[in-house]
């Protein structure tokens, strides 16, 4: 397998593959964080997660058009505005959905599954009616599309570095919100014991709505970033949903640390396997590996210890 390559080539490939795995890891973290917050903290299985991501992508598309037409000088930096807009738009839609639909369905996990799946279909058709069935091309500023050449052989895609930094920043913000703010303390209290949290004066309905909105908002930011590496069309959200659920379930539903660990495991094995045996077989083996682990550890990699 290796005999046909020289030592320097092998070293470079190892480095390149390492980066490829890290980029995939960052993509998985961004995809899964929003879902993990909603699923883990609220017990809601949000099948429309992919469509929230695509809303972020469409907002990015609109923002890029806006900047291209009205502020061409600032086009190079439109991406940062786009991500902010994407967060606001998806968080608002998330709050609306929670208020109009999800809050009637707590304690009925299977019903939320169906309802959010229906919502995903509605959103897809809405995108199709608004933006057309064809994929839209989001123009990425040139500085984000190039690559950074380290040696003759090692080139690191700049958008990959961008996604990595973004994943770190978002994870850090979520960490601060969840574990270092009073709102985060309220969220965790509601997760651990809802009636008691209500009894000590926490407005649980408001906490739920904000949690759901935050999860959706992060999905929007992820979708915005993914316009650099993926397609933006009415059904593009479906491309991400399976991997997202895989990461969250494997990580252990109620644990953010678990989500990060699981994203790392899956992305590294997927990326390495892909290099050696090709995309389709890599997927099969990764899934098999996850299934086997879940057979022995049905609660996922990490679990929250809660007294029931």
């Amino acid at each position: 397998m290796f005999s046909e390559y020289s030592a320097t080539e092998l070293g470079s490939i190892l480095a390149m593959q390492g980066f490829a795995g890290l980029i995939l890891f960052a993509v998985f973290v961004l995809m899964a964080l929003g879902l993990a917050i909603i699923f883990g903290q609220m017990g809601v299985i949000n099948m429309a997660h992919g469509e929230f991501m695509i809303l972020g992508a469409y907002v990015t598309y609109l923002t890029s058009n806006l900047f291209a037409n009205h502020f061409p000088d600032l086009f190079g930096s439109y991406f940062f505005f786009a991500m902010a807009f994407a967060f606001i738009a998806t968080a608002l839609l998330g709050a609306l959905v929670e208020w109009g639909m999800i809050r009637f369905l707590y304690h009925r996990p299977l019903d939320t599954l169906l309802a959010t799946w229906g919502l995903s279909l509605i959103l897809q058709q809405t995108y199709r009616s608004l933006f057309g069935a064809r994929e839209v091309g989001v123009v990425i500023p040139d500085w984000l599309m190039g690559s950074y050449r380290i040696t003759d052989f090692i080139e690191i895609p700049i958008n990959g570095i961008f996604v990595m930094i973004l994943a770190i920043v978002v994870t850090f913000i979520v960490y601060l919100l969840m574990f270092r703010s009073s709102w985060g303390r309220q969220v965790r209290a509601v997760v651990q014991n809802r009636p008691m949290a209500g009894a000590v004066g926490i407005n649980t309905a408001r906490v739920d709505r904000l949690t759901f909105a935050l999860g959706c908002g992060i999905a929007g930011v992820a979708g915005s970033a993914f316009t650099m590496i993926g397609s933006t069309g009415p059904t593009s959200g479906q491309l991400y949903i399976v991997d997202t659920f895989l990461v969250v379930v494997f990580g252990g539903a109620a644990s953010l640390l678990g989500t990060v660990a699981s994203a790392f495991t899956i992305s590294q094995s997927q990326s390495a396997l892909e290099f050696f045996i090709g995309g389709s077989m890599a997927k099969v083996l990764t899934l098999m590996f996850v299934v086997i682990i879940l057979m022995f550890r049905p609660q996922g990699l990490f679990t929250l210890k809660v007294r029931r």
Binding site: Y5, E9, I13, M16, Q17, F19, A20, I23, L24, V27, Q125, R128, G132, A133, R134, E135, V136, G137, V138, V139, I140, M145, G146, S147, R149, F153, E155, P157, I158, N159, G160, F226, M228, I229, G230, S231, T232, G233, P234, T235, S236, Q238, L239, Y240, Q270, S271, A272, E274, F275, G278, G279, S280, A282, K283
Partner: protein, 420 residues
């Protein structure tokens, strides 16, 4: 005839005389202005939805669901062709009315809608189906109820039904000429085959591999497949970097396409600089909309039609298409093939002098179309089209410039001997 009798009976007695007068006057006017058209009883012996003035056909594509992205152009092309035929006086003096059904990207739905079109609407022809899966789903329906399907997509071959006319290319028409061209013009010695993981890319790559290794004596240095919807190509790009093929031969489809070309460019492999030669059999002008011209500039595509083809037929077609569907429309290979469907059917019906499916089928082989946007096409005995193979180079503006076309029409060969 049956339909005429029914209307006469439905009229009240008092009006019947008046109706008769009207009909007399109308027929006198018709006799002087329009060439006599054959009576309905003669051209329709199998109870299809044909009246003295109209003939009904079906359009069956997905306008919702995943495939809507790809099938939208085909629907537009078929409607345009039907409207143009009507403007010229219709088929055998009858205007075409179409019923559009939505396959909803779901194969059982395709079959059920096809059954509805054939049994309930009794259409004289159906233009539709797009993916191989949807074609396979409707095929038994068309064979059972003896319908006629005009199928527009380039596909893997290995099929030939008396009830289908294939207006796109089968695999050899896309692959053989393009690989010969790569070997001769680009001096390619090594190839890397990659595609999405389903029947069309796998069959295509099988043919490509046999042609490369056995007929040309060159080398395949890698073959790779990805699940539909795969969005991370960094590992594969590393693999390609390491194997250093002269040519990447790609048949990635759908959303994966966008991811692949964007990541290729971001990884520092710029096709427009000629870092590597990439030839795709799955990207048309339609797909470039999503990929972005700046990301795929310099790639080659093997198709039979490009919007930029320079001939009077195509000029008229592109103009009409933009007038009907908007200035920003783009027209891909399959859209043009879909446009041929209604015209080929019209020619066959007129040659047969009948709408009857059996007679249309018998009349189909040998039908020529000199007005096709792609140039001249002809229906083969095996229900596929003779057509030229062309290679285009992707430009930044999302169009292709044609860099090569075969001198002769390529014979369709859905069951290529020696390639299976």
């Amino acid at each position: 005839m049956a339909i005429q009798d029914k209307t006469a009976k439905a009229m009240p007695a008092g009006k019947r005389r008046f109706g008769g007068l009207l009909a007399l006057a109308a027929s006198m006017m018709l006799a002087t202005t329009v060439v006599a058209k054959p009576p309905t009883a003669e051209v329709n012996t199998t109870n299809l939805a044909v009246t003295d003035d109209t003939v009904r056909v079906g359009i069956l594509h997905s306008v919702t669901g995943t495939m809507a992205i790809s099938e939208a152009g085909s629907v537009q092309a078929e409607i345009l062709a039907i409207e143009q035929i009507n403007a010229q006086g219709g088929v055998l003096g009858r205007k075409i009315e179409y019923i559009q059904e939505d396959g909803a990207s779901d194969w059982p739905t395709f079959a059920e809608r096809a059954r509805k079109l054939l049994r309930q609407d009794r259409v004289a022809a159906v233009f539709g189906a797009w993916t191989s899966a949807s074609r396979k789903a409707v095929l038994p329906v068309f064979e059972q109820f003896n319908g006629m399907l005009y199928y527009p997509t380039f596909y893997e071959g290995l099929e030939q039904s008396p009830n289908v006319i294939y207006t796109g290319q089968e695999a050899t028409q896309q692959i053989l000429a393009s690989i010969d061209w790569l070997a001769q013009e680009k001096g390619a010695k090594t190839f890397y085959l990659m595609g999405s993981d389903y029947i069309w890319p796998r069959t295509s790559n099988k043919i490509a591999r046999i042609h490369i290794e056995e007929k040309l004596g060159l080398r395949v240095v890698g073959e790779d497949y990805f699940p539909l919807g795969h969005t991370n190509f960094n590992s594969t790009i590393n693999r390609i970097r390491l194997r250093r093929p002269d040519v990447i031969f790609a048949s990635v489809v759908g959303g994966s396409n966008v991811a692949f070309y964007r990541q290729l460019k971001a990884a520092g492999i710029d096709l427009s600089r000629g870092d590597i030669t990439l030839l795709t059999i799955s990207v048309t002008e339609d797909e470039i909309l999503g990929i972005g011209g700046e990301n795929i500039e310099g790639a080659y595509a093997s198709m039979k039609y490009f919007q930029s083809l320079d001939n009077p037929n195509n000029e008229a077609f592109v103009k009409a298409f933009k007038e009907r569907w908007g200035e920003n429309s783009v027209i891909g290979d399959v859209t043009q093939a879909a446009y041929l469907g209604p015209w080929l059917w019209k020619e066959a019906v007129e040659r047969a002098g009948s709408f009857d499916i059996d007679k249309v089928r018998a009349a189909s082989p040998g039908i020529e179309l000199t007005t096709a946007p792609e140039g001249y096409v002809k229906v083969h005995e095996n229900h596929h089209l003779w057509s030229r193979a062309r290679i285009g180079r992707a430009l930044r503006n999302g169009q292709f410039e044609v860099v090569h076309e075969t001198a002769d029409l390529m014979e369709p060969d859905p069951f290529p001997a020696g390639y299976q």
